[in-house]
Amino acid sequence: MVDRIERHYAVFGRDVWGLLGFLALALIAFAAAAPQFLTAANFSSMAFQVSDLGLLTLAMLMPIISGGFNLAIIATANLSGLTLAWILNLNGGPQAGVLAFAGGAAAALAVGGASGAAMGATIAFLGAHPILASLAMMIFLRGLGEYLTRGGDISGFPDFLGEVGHGELLGVPVPMLVLVGAALFWHFLLSHTRHGFAVTMIGSNARAAEYSGVPVKRTITLVYALSGMMCALAGILMLTRFNSVRVGHGDSLLLVTVLACFLGGVDPFGGFGRVAPVFVALLILQTLSSGLNLLGANQHLSTAVWGLFLIAVMSLRWAGPVLAKLLKRTKE
């Protein structure tokens, strides 16, 4: 039994049940308040919307577990999207074929990975602070993107891309499938591989990890390269969903990804964090914003509610052990 609990913790972390409880509560509340909430159409639209934020949150998650941060996620996603758009336009724009898309997507992933690797190497080998290094990368990528697009939109892509961005497979939106696949891959990487092991150790104590023979610099470079590739995947998905690319697209999501990580129990100081609870946290955030939207609330209000929600969760996390202690004392 103890073993099974351990294994459960290993996958889901310690407070996934609390988060699921929150999710259930939010679902019930909105179902009661808004009749349209419990419809297939609503859930489908939620699934479409959560995917961008979800992929970007995964891109933020790995650097945070390694004890770092990546402020360049949106800029990386945008520039990767531009790379894909550029290759599609070179190959006839709306007439571009599947091959051009595949090549463009590969190039986008390469751009994302390379910019991430450059940032990671700066952090690992030069000892730059992750916030500063990624801030510099963000400014550089934004500037580069704005220079290339002159601040405008790029659009006019082949129709079949809509099948990716708006299609469904066996009734499940394709972007949701992409997110689930990416989350499973991230979970495997973080919990079952040498790389993931090194990331958590470095996140807790990089010097002790180095003394034990963990390749710290290589691992940190890889963390940001992988994060950049995850950004690229988000950029590709955003292109197919909006049928356009623009620098600054999704800027508002940057800090929401941090929110989702902390809501999912990731230690802001590194070393601890699981994909599963972060995934549940994403669902909660999406439920809150979709539900409030259905109730006719302003979009800005839902942002405010997210903030309040995080404060509430932090208070409960603090109060939990205190309450348990009090309960134990009264029992005695």
Partner: protein, 506 residues
């Protein structure tokens, strides 16, 4: 209680503190069981006991952090108290200097000393007043510190003086010092003892809390010894030896015998020739033979750890050769060294030896990730569990669950985890940098036996130690390092411990 306030004559004669029948229980564990503790005014007192003996709990009771169970008698300078809070204890003149000193490294010496006058209230900070408070506290200590220097620019011994001055600045009359000599050289310890004598003469009582008390016994008048939460007794310090004290603390008898053997014929596993690194060590020659334990002693700053870092591939020498099994090698990093069969147990177990927050299991396999994973990098759960089980059994580590944080283990068991993770790499040469720092006296013996067993299995061992006696009794040969050079090579069978100690601590 105005009567007690003015009854100075009776209070003057009373001891600084008198505690009786102190019992504290934590979740079913009896941390203190009917303990009495008394310290006279101006007395230098030792509070001795192993980790877990209850000495920190007792300090926290005196400092008002923990409340003892009903029935305890608590008295400060002749005034009985029923409930003690940290604020009250401080007002009565009790100060505790913990091992980590709890100072502010980014602030100046003066700001640190006057800190308790700075906090609280919305007052402007008067720099002149801060200086004055700091100066008068240092004058009482009879020492000189650069008041404007940032604390983190000072060596640890001087920071400690700043911590004592801070206690004085807030009118402490009874100062507890937790493991005060743990990271001091002999000269620094002597300086501290001088300060303690000055304080004692001026009526301030000092309680040393430690499990290594040889140095402080000479200035102390009495020692209170605790074991498993009970009072063993209060002893006159005169005539009390470290060996006797250890027996009292552990309730066991230790026989320390020289275990040195000759290895001149054995092949050298790891050797260095004329090894130098600017500012760290100079012209070092040494050879570690298979099965041999070589002790390396010297003062802090002699270059021992720096030399170890080079042998472990963490730094590169400017000059000289390193040979492993007779072949010249150059390590690019410590992963090269580990692959070649060199392992290094750091002196700083908290920051470098283990990833404290992470699990026992992960700390045990961290050096062997490739062996428990496949070519694609996926870790096998079964192989990991087997590796963990092997480490735990081989070194008889007492653990709860492998998933518990390694920080939950005692110092001795943590050190066993460190040893286990390095033994898993099948090292040919093992460098132990102060392997018993923060390990209880009773648990040290276990570490020494492991070291002996490893040597017998053919591993060449370099035992770096702060305590000459540790190297003397556990090594086959003792090297003395001073100012970056190896200045002596001793055979414990042909030199006395006293001679060796006076050579090193001169």
């Amino acid at each position: 209680m105005p009567v007690a306030e003015h009854d100075e004559s009776a209070a003057d004669a009373a001891p600084a503190i008198r505690f009786d029948r102190v019992s504290v229980t934590f979740g079913g564990v009896r941390a203190l069981d009917g303990v009495s503790f008394e310290v006279d005014r101006g007395e230098v007192h030792c509070l001795a006991g192993e980790n877990g003996s209850g000495k920190s709990t007792l300090i926290k009771v005196v400092a008002g952090v923990y409340r003892p169970e009903p029935g305890a008698h608590m008295e400060y300078f002749g005034r009985p108290e029923t409930t003690v809070t940290p604020q009250l204890a401080r007002r009565r003149g009790v100060a505790v200097i913990w091992q980590d000193l709890a100072l502010f490294p980014e602030m100046t010496v003066a700001e640190n000393i006057a800190f308790d006058h700075l906090v609280g209230g919305m007052r402007l900070v008067e720099h002149g007043a801060i200086r004055k408070i700091a100066e008068s506290a240092l004058a009482r200590l009879g020492v000189d510190l650069d008041l404007g220097a940032r604390l983190n620019k000072l060596p640890i011994a001087r920071r400690q003086l700043a911590a004592i001055a801070r206690a004085l600045a807030s009118d402490a009359k009874l100062i507890f010092m937790d493991e005060p000599t743990a990271s001091l050289t002999q000269a620094e310890t002597d300086m501290l003892l001088d300060v303690v004598r000055t304080l004692s003469a001026s009526g301030v009582a000092i309680v040393f809390v430690s499990h290594r008390l040889a140095e402080v016994l000479e200035v102390s008048s009495r020692a209170t010894v605790l074991r498993d939460g009970r009072l063993v007794g209060v002893f006159e310090a005169a005539g009390l030896s470290q060996t006797r004290l250890t027996e009292l603390m552990t309730g066991k008898q230790f026989d320390q015998r020289i275990s040195a053997r000759s290895f001149a014929a054995a092949p050298a596993v790891l050797s260095v020739e004329d090894l130098s690194r600017h500012g760290e060590y100079e012209g070092v020659n040494l050879a570690l033979r298979a099965g041999e334990v070589v002790g390396l002693v010297g003062l802090i700053g002699a270059g021992r750890t720096e030399l170890a870092h080079t042998l472990f591939g963490m730094t590169r020498p400017d000059r000289g050769a390193i040979r492993l099994n007779g072949r010249n090698i150059a390590f690019r990093n410590n992963r090269d060294a580990i692959a070649a069969g060199v392992a290094y147990v750091s002196e700083d177990r908290l920051a470098l030896g283990l990833v404290q927050q992470q699990s026992i299991a992960d700390n045990l396999v961290i050096t062997r990730l490739r062996a428990i994973s496949n070519a694609a990098g996926a870790i096998s759960r079964a192989k990991k569990a087997a590796a963990v089980a092997k480490g735990v059994t081989d070194l008889a580590i007492k653990i709860g669950r492998p998933a518990d944080a390694v920080s939950t283990l005692s110092g001795g068991n943590q050190q066993r985890v460190v040893l286990a993770k390095w033994l898993a790499t099948s090292p040919k040469a093992l460098i132990l940098d102060c392997p018993t720092v923060g390990v209880d006296v009773g648990a040290r013996d276990g570490i020494y036996r492991i070291i002996r067993r490893l040597a017998e299995s053919g591993i060449a061992i370099l035992l770096i130690s702060d305590e000459v006696s540790e190297a003397f009794f556990n090594a086959d040969r003792v090297l003395h390092m001073a100012a970056g050079r190896i200045v002596g090579d001793y055979d414990p069978r042909s030199v006395s411990l006293a001679d060796l100690e006076s050579a090193v601590y001169a």
